[in-house]
């Protein structure tokens, strides 16, 4: 850790926190139908859209209707994304003449993009036509993000309303989220990224004559470099803002076209956490107690910031095996030093480490460096943040509704300790809420650990491993954590584009998403039908530093206890062996 590292981290966090209130207020206004610019200018267009689509915008849905609408819409998304990939060979906008995607890979990608995971078993530039990237993938980048935010807003309504069954209208929520929140932000970000050098073109790749010819693997001389291009900026903008993370190119945001400069990198890192952070404020605004929103953000930062500092320190220290070869890994005026394998020179250590922690915390999953090549503990931090349940920021909407499930668990535990009926935001927490919250907290670890255990026991699972020993186990554990947490980043050495992994990871993503959404909506429905209990001297305040600390402990203890044995077999043992080897 040096001064430059600290300055870069502080600058990033300050910029992020400054945006929380303005954006949070704006989003709350959109959901409360207060005039906020776009919704007044485009209001007639929105109403026209509902007429065309047969949406009765003023009719609220019960939680079951809401869930059915959501599942129908997402099932349709999976089918359409699958079909477009399977027929892209005979569809237009395919200048590189790419063939149809294989069935197992197409299934995996369809679930991946619909579930806001954006796990990519394929290499973008060599697999997907421009049409597929736009019409299938970019669309899901928007609507999967909107789905998560809609569920959060429905849950917030559960707290505000009393003795009502309607939670709002799913169609209205996703249309407004897409048109008024995601679209304007994406337009701005996309154009800023183009200005930095991210391509946005429909031409096929460019062909360059190499300055110095190279030999390929078979000894033939290569004199040309074919450079893949495409309409990348428009997709990259929403991939960051919607915590999607699916890259246009295989190397994701490490690719110099996807993330060309320090400024483009800063803008993208900022966008990764922007909406998840601001939604905390939005939630506080919607439940008419801003302190509650700030308290949730404080819990998130309590866990996030130490991870950030620790990660930078580990990566900056470098690889002891390379130090012994006489390599200079020190940080100087002329180099960032540290563990640079799998990192880009323009980002160095600090911009790579911040990104790895932010992308894992936020369920984004885009990468600007290769997590597989991080030091053992440097790679464990993102993996562990995912395993906490993607609630430290988490996906847009999904992170916060996950954290609220932890809040329910925490007030229940606190209620047991002080001998009072647990309440949160004026609603009694009873058996139904506790059962559903327990499902939300327990389903992801179950999926991750069972599928990891399966994969390391069968030959088709083990054959995909790249790195030997404990690190190979980490690759598989990371893959299922990422899929179940709807993150999408990888220890990418794992060859996951096989029928076994495509199907296993596809199922992990599907259940990791929708098996949580349904219980969340059930909680919303149950809360909404309850009375509001007035605050009394016996009420446990949930905005105090004490509660913030208590909730952080609950999140960490659940995550640590569940995954400590598995992490011991992977990154921890690798760390001990690597340093013991000195």
């Amino acid at each position: 850790m040096n001064w430059n590292n600290l300055i870069q981290i502080s600058f990033y966090l300050a910029a992020l926190l400054l945006a929380v209130k303005p954006l949070g207020t704006f989003m709350a206004s959109i959901y409360e139908e207060k005039p906020a610019g776009f919704n007044t200018w485009l209001g007639s267009l929105e109403r026209c859209l509902y007429r065309v689509c047969g949406v009765r915008a003023d009719v609220g849905m019960t939680w079951k209707e809401y869930a059915v609408a959501l599942m129908l819409f997402n099932a349709l998304g999976i089918v359409v994304v699958y079909i477009i990939q399977r027929f892209q060979g005979s569809l237009p906008l395919n200048p590189m003449e790419l063939p149809a995607v294989a069935a197992d890979s197409a299934f995996n990608t369809a679930v991946s993009f619909v579930s806001n995971t954006n796990w990519q078993g394929y290499g973008g530039e060599s697999t997907m036509s421009y049409l597929t990237q736009m019409l299938a993938l970019t669309v899901q980048n928007f609507v999967s993000a909107a789905t998560g935010m809609a569920v959060l807003v429905a849950l917030a309504r559960g707290f505000i309303q009393k003795q009502t069954r309607a939670l709002g209208n799913f169609w209205v929520d996703i249309v407004r989220t897409t048109l008024y929140i995601l679209m304007p932000l994406s337009l701005i970000l996309a154009l800023l990224l183009v200005s930095q050098g991210v391509p946005q073109t429909f031409h096929s790749g460019a062909v360059a004559t190499l300055v110095q010819p190279v030999k390929d693997g078979t000894g033939n001389t290569v004199t040309q470099q074919v450079i893949a291009l495409g309409p990348a900026a428009s997709q990259i903008a929403i991939k960051q803002l919607g915590t999607n993370g699916g890259g246009f190119f295989n190397a994701n945001s490490a690719h110099p076209y996807e993330n060309p400069t320090p400024l483009s990198n800063l803008l993208q890192m900022f966008s990764i956490l922007l909406i998840p952070a601001a939604l905390c404020y939005t939630f506080g605004y919607l439940v008419k107690d801003l302190r509650q929103g700030w308290a949730l953000l404080a819990v998130i930062l309590t866990i996030f910031v130490p991870c950030l500092l620790w990660s930078v320190q580990i990566e900056q220290r470098g690889n002891p095996l390379l130090t012994r070869l006489g390599i200079d890994q020190s940080a100087t005026m002329f180099q960032s030093g540290g563990n640079m394998e799998g990192k880009e020179a323009r980002f160095g250590i600090v911009s790579s480490s911040i990104w790895s922690v932010a992308t894992a915390a936020a369920s984004n999953g885009s990468v600007n460096s290769m997590h597989d090549s991080y030091m053992p503990l440097g790679g464990m931090i993102p993996m562990w943040l995912i395993q906490l349940g993607e609630v430290i920021f988490g996906g847009v909407g999904s992170g916060l509704y996950g954290l609220i499930a932890f809040v329910i668990v925490a007030v229940f535990i606190a209620g047991l300790m002080i001998g009072r009926t647990p309440e949160y935001l004026g609603k009694k927490i009873e058996a139904q809420e506790m059962k559903m919250s327990a499902l939300i907290v327990l389903i992801p670890p179950l999926i991750i650990l069972m599928l990891t255990a399966l994969s390391v026991s069968v030959a088709v699972g083990k054959v995909g491993i790249l790195n030997p020993g404990a690190h190979g186990f980490s690759e598989i554990l990371y893959a299922f954590s990422s899929a179940s947490g709807n993150n999408g980043s990888a220890f990418a050495g794992l060859s996951a584009n096989t029928p076994f992994y495509n199907i296993a990871l596809g199922l992990a993503m599907f259940f990791g998403r929708f098996w949580l959404i349904v219980p969340v909506l059930a909680i919303a429905g149950s809360l909404s039908s309850k009375k509001i209990v007035p605050v009394s001297p016996g009420t446990l305040p949930t905005h105090t530093p004490l509660f913030v600390f208590f909730l952080a402990i609950v999140v960490v203890v659940v995550g640590a206890l569940t995954f400590f044995p598995a992490l011991s077999l992977g990154p921890i043992v690798e760390h001990l062996m690597l340093n013991g080897a000195q």
């Binding site: 019409l135 994406s186 073109t201 031409h203 309409p231 900026a233 295989n250 960032s336």
Partner: protein
């Protein structure tokens, strides 16, 4: 309960697909092509005869000692701009140590007198396999070799390197680096 949601499901899906999957990317493309023509089309570099020699954002492989070398690339062949990728080698993988040893040996063969410690950027594979940049330390390490083999004064080579530095954004974000392809093109244009 679900029947009345079928029509909205299809219609909202179609309408949002048109807005986010057609209008949005086309609009961004239109604006980008008008205002940022060079960047939107890949920041390509052209020779005097108009042919494309590369992109200022996509690195090329150099292993001739008369050129500055960039980051090692894990793609096949090196710097394959159709299949970007890192090595994904873990920190404890013996294959990583072997690869670094081979890179050290290659650097020592072409510059046996140089006793300085080799900067990490020169022996570690980049994340994309297309990294166009190198740390300043990596460039300065190679300076005397390139100057000697090109029979140029070191000051002249140093000047070319320094002309191709891009610094931190506002002095705050990212790392200062040099663009290897641009430096090598500038060196070639001298001879």
């Amino acid at each position: 309960m679900w029947r009345e949601q079928i029509r909205p499901a299809f219609m909202v899906f179609i309408v949002l697909t048109v807005i986010t999957g057609v209008i949005y990317p086309l609009f961004v493309t239109g604006v980008a092509q008008i205002f940022f023509y060079k960047q939107a089309n890949g920041s390509l570099l052209y020779a005097e005869d108009g042919s494309v020699v590369g992109s200022s954002l996509v690195g090329q492989n150099f292993d001739d000692p008369r050129y500055f070398w960039g980051r090692p690339s894990a793609t096949s062949p090196a710097y394959n701009a159709l299949a970007s990728s890192g090595s994904n080698l873990g920190p404890s993988n013996p294959a990583l140590v072997a690869a670094v040893r081979a890179r050290i040996a290659a650097l020592k063969i072409v510059d046996p007198e140089n006793q300085a410690a080799i900067p990490i950027d020169l022996v570690s594979a980049s994340a994309s396999g297309l990294d166009p940049h190198l740390s300043l330390a990596g460039a300065y390490y190679q300076l005397s070799r390139v100057a000697r083999l090109r029979k140029l004064p070191e000051a002249k080579v140093r000047q070319i390197v320094q002309q191709n530095i891009s610094g931190r954004f506002l002095g705050l974000a990212g790392e200062p680096v040099i663009n290897i392809l641009k430096v090598n093109l500038a060196l070639d244009s001298l001879n």
